[in-house]
Symmetry: D4
Subunit: 159 residues, 8 copies
C-alpha cells in the first residue's frame, strides 16, 4: 500500500516530533548531526506524502471544565442513511470520534461533555438526527490511557 519508504533519518526526526511537535528544526538538526535544511526537506516530504497530516494540541479537558466522557452506540433505521447521519454528527463538536462498526451498533461515537446534564443534551441531539433509531450510552469513570506516542514510536521501530 505505502510505497513511500522512510529511512533511518526520517524515523529519528519523527521520533523527536512525536515527543514535541514544536521542537525547532535546528534542535533536531543538532541532535541528528545533519543540517536544519535537511530536516526541513524531510518533514516537507513526509507531509507531501501524506504520512504527516498535521499536529494537534493536547489540552487538559478537566481543567477546561470538560471532565465527562461517554461512548455512544448508534443504531440506524437503515444503513443507507449512514453518510447523511455522519454529516449531521459532524456538526456536533462534542463528538470527537465516530466509527462505522460491526457488531450491534451501526455507528459508535466518543463524546466529551461538561457534566451529566451536558451529556444528556448531546445524547438527545444525536437521538434526534433523522435516521437514528436509538442510542446506547456507556460512561467513562476515568480515562486511564490516552496516548498515541507509544504507538507511533512502535510503528517507526517496526518499519
Amino acid at each position: 500500500m505505502a510505497k513511500f519508504k522512510l529511512d533511518e533519518v526520517d524515523h529519528q526526526i519523527l521520533d523527536m516530533l512525536i515527543e514535541n511537535t514544536r521542537t525547532p528544526f535546528t534542535d533536531i538538526a543538532k541532535k541528528l548531526l545533519i543540517s536544519a535544511g535537511t530536516v526541513h526537506v524531510r518533514v516537507k516530504k513526509m507531509e507531501e506524502a501524506g504520512i504527516i497530516e498535521g499536529s494537534s494540541l493536547t489540552l487538559d479537558y478537566k481543567k477546561l471544565g470538560y471532565s465527562f466522557i461517554a461512548y455512544v452506540g448508534i443504531y440506524l433505521q437503515n444503513t443507507s442513511q449512514t453518510k447523511f447521519v455522519l454529516q449531521r454528527i459532524r456538526e456536533i463538536p462534542f463528538v470527537t470520534v465516530a466509527h462505522i462498526t460491526t457488531g450491534k451498533f451501526n455507528i459508535f461515537c466518543k463524546v466529551r461533555a461538561k457534566d451529566t446534564n451536558h451529556a444528556k443534551d448531546i445524547i438527545f441531539q444525536l437521538d434526534d438526527i433523522d435516521g437514528v433509531y436509538r442510542t446506547e450510552t456507556m460512561i467513562s469513570l476515568e480515562e486511564s490511557i490516552n496516548d498515541k506516542k507509544r504507538l507511533m514510536h512502535s510503528i517507526f521501530q517496526d518499519l
Copy 2:
C-alpha cells in the same frame, strides 16, 4: 474547578495553535497585533497552568500500514485488579486509549493494528493478562470522524 481565567487574547492564540501547533509565535503575534514575547509568555503561562499539556502529530495510519481499528471491552475477575491490569495494558503500544467504564465492561480500549491477524495477537495479549476474565471486540469498518479541533474551538468560544 479551573480557577485559571483565559482572556480573549489567550483564546485567539489557542485558536491558531489548534489549527497548527507549529505556527511560529511571530506569525501569531503579527496576526493578533501583539509582540512575539507576549505570545511566548501567554503560551508558557497556559503550559504552566496545565491547560496545554503538549502537542501530538497527526499521522495517516493507513499509509503506515495500520488500517485496522478495534474497540475491546474487558471484563475483570475483580475490580480490585483494575490498576494492575491497566499497567499491563500500558505495555501494549497498540492500545492507544483505555477507560474505566460503567455498563457491562470494566475497561474499554481502542486498539490500532495492521490487520486481522495482528489484531488477533493484540486481543490474545489482552486476554492473557492476569485478572482479565474475558474480552469482547467490536471492529471499526471506517473511522469517519477523528477530530478534536471542532471541540477545542467550541470550548474556547464557550468560555
Copy 3:
C-alpha cells in the same frame, strides 16, 4: 454550586430531624443548649435556601396491601418524546420514581403495586403511552434496604 454554608449547629439540627421530622423544636433546643427560636430560624433558613424541601411519611406498604415492587425500563420511539412521556407517567400514581438514563433504557421507573395482576395493569398503562416503544420489567423479590437516613447523616458529617 451550593454557596449556602451549613454550620455545626445546622448539622446537629438536621441530624435530629432526619431521625424524626416531628421532633418538637423545643426538644432540639434543649438538647443543643440553644433557644427554640434559634432552631426555628435555622430550619426556616434551610427551607428558604431549598436544602430542606419538605418531609414525607414512611409507611409500611405491605401492611397497606402494596407488597409488589417492580422496576420498569422504558424504550422510547424517539427521545424527543421524553418530556411528554414523563408527563403521562406522572399521571400514574403507582410509579414513584422515574429517571432518564444512559444504557439501554430511555426512562427507568420504580413501580409499587398490590400484586402480579395489578402490576400487569400498570405495565400495560405504561406500554400504552404514545411514544413508548416497549418496556422491560424486573421484579423485586425483597426490598432489603430503603433508607436515606444513613446517606443524610453521612452527607452532614462530610460537609
Copy 4:
C-alpha cells in the same frame, strides 16, 4: 393481610400528614372538626399498628453536592451469600435502596454520589465485597420523578 381497618377520619389525617409530616395536630383537628386529642390517639394507633413507620426529610441533594445517581446491578457468585452481601452493602451509606431481584441481577441498588469519581469509588467498594461476582451500572441523567405522595393519596382513596 392487613386486619387493621382505617376509617374515613384516619384517611383524612394521613392525607394531611402526607403533605407535611410536621403539620401540628391542632391544625389537623381544626380542619377535620375533631379534637387534637383524637388526632393524637389516631396517629398513635396507626404507629402502633405499624402502618406509619416514621417520617423522613426531603432534601435537595443537588444543593448538597450529591447530584450523581446510579443504579447498580450486582451478580453474586452464589445466592447463598445474599444475606451476607446485603449486610456489607448496608455499611455503604451511599446505597440508599437495595432489592433482591429476578432477571439477570441478584441484587439491584440505587446509589447517590457527588460526581463520576465518587461513583467510581462506591462501585469499586461494591465490587470488592466478598461474594460479589461482578456489577453493571446504569447512570441517571435526570431524576424526573421522585414522589411517593401521589401513591400514598391513591392508596388511601382506594382503601
Copy 5:
C-alpha cells in the same frame, strides 16, 4: 382467597385421583373405609368449587411423532394488542402453553412439533400474526421433567 376448606378425607381422595384419575370411586371408598357415595359427593363438591377443573390424558408424544419442543418468546409492537394476539395464538393447536410475561418478551409460548421443519412452519405462523413484532426461539434438547403430581401431593400435604 380460597374460602373453601378441604379436610383430611378430601386430601386422601385427591391423593388417589392424582395418581390415576380413572381410579374407580369404589376402590377409593374401600381404601379410605368410607362409602362410594361419600367419595362421589366429595369429588362433586370439589368440582363445583372449581378446585378440580377436569382431567387430561398423558400421552407419549414421541411415540406419536411429536418429539420436537420449542419455547418461543414473542415481542409485540404494542401491548394493547396482547389480547388479540393471544386469540390468534389459540388457533394454533401446537402452542400448548402461553403466558404474558415480564422481562424481555411480551408473550412466552411452549410449542410441540413433529420436527425442525414443522417447528419452522409454526414459528412462521406466530411471526405472521398482526401485531407480532418478532420472535425468539429456544429449543428443548430433552424434556427431563414434566410432572405435576409431585406438586399436587405437596400442595395437599401443605394445606
Copy 6:
C-alpha cells in the same frame, strides 16, 4: 418411529377420553356403537403400547393458593453435571417442568409458587444446588393458555 398403527376407532376413543378421562367405557361404547369390552381392549392396547401413559387432574392452582408462575433459566458450571442437577431439581416439587435447552440456558424450568416470597425461596433452592452457576427468572403475569386438548385432537386428526 411409531410402528403401532391407530385406527379410526382408536381415534374416536381417544377423542372422548381427551375431553374427560373419567368418561365411563360404557358411554364411549354407546356413542361409538361398539361393545364396552372393545373399548376396554383398545384402551389397554394403547396403554401397553405406551401411547397412553396415564392421566392427570386439572386443578385450579389459584384457588389452591398457588397463583405465582415463574420460568427459571439455569446456567451450569459444566454440562457434565446436567444429570446430577436434574436429580436434585426433581426433589423440588414446585418445579413442574424442566428441559435441557439450546441457547443461553443449560436447563430451563417452570415453577409454580404461592407468591413472590415463596418463589424467592424456590429460586434460592435452585441456586444452591451444586453445579448451578447462576439462574435467571422470568415471571408470568398471566397464564393465558394451558391446554393440551387442542394439540391432542389435532394429532389424531392428522394421523
Copy 7:
C-alpha cells in the same frame, strides 16, 4: 427417510472419492479389486439417488486475496419476507452460506470478502435489501477448521 441402502463397496468408493474427487475410476477399481465398470455403475447409482450431488474445488482464498470472513446475523421486519430476502441474498456471490435460524436472528450468513472495506460494502448491500430490519456482524480472526472429510468418513463408517 433414506430408503436407498449403501453397501460396503459403495462406502469404500465414497471413502476414496472423499479424499480426492478426481481419483480415476480405474485406480478405485484396482484398489477394491473390482472392475472399473462396477465403480462407474455404483457412482452413477449414487448420483441418481441424489446422495452425491456434485463436487467442488477447495481453493486457498487467502492466496486469491479473499482473507476476510464474517458471519452476519439478519433481523427481518417480518418473516413473511424470508423467501424474498433469501432470493436477494443469493444475488450477492460473497455470501456463501445462509440459514434460516432460531434464536435472535431470522437469517444467518457466512460472508467471504477481500478486506474490512469490502466487507463493509457487502454488509451495506445486505442492510439495503427490502425487508431487512438490521444486521449484526461477527468477524472471524482465523478459520481454524473447515473440513467436511472427517464428517463424511464418519457418516459412512456409521451407516
Copy 8:
C-alpha cells in the same frame, strides 16, 4: 500477497472445474481449443502454487440422515487455551467448521448432526472439553444457501 498471476486460460479452466471437478481434461482442452497437456500443466501449476488445494464431494446430508445443523458459540476460560481446545474440537468429526472470532464468542463452530438427540450429545462433548467455559447454540431451521461456486466465479471474473 498473491504474486502468482493467473491468466485468461487459467480462469477458463477453473471456471469449468468449479462446475464439476471431475470434468475430464480432454473435455476442457476441446472446449478451450488447447491441448490436454496444457490443461494438465496449468492445473498442476495451480496446485503447486497452492491455489487449488483439493476437491470435495457435495453430498445430500438429508438423504444420509444428517439433517440437523447447529451453530455453537464457545466461551473459553482463557484464550491461552484456544489452540488446545481447537485440537480437541478437531477430534469431533461432526464439527465441520470452526473459527476464532471477535465479539462474544472465542470460537464459533458449525455442527452437523442426525437429530436433536445427536446434537445434544455433540454439544455435551464440546462442553466437556477442558478450558471450555460454556457454549451457546443456534439451530438452523433450513440451510437455504450453501454454494461457493458463485463466489469462485466472481473471484476469477474479478482478478
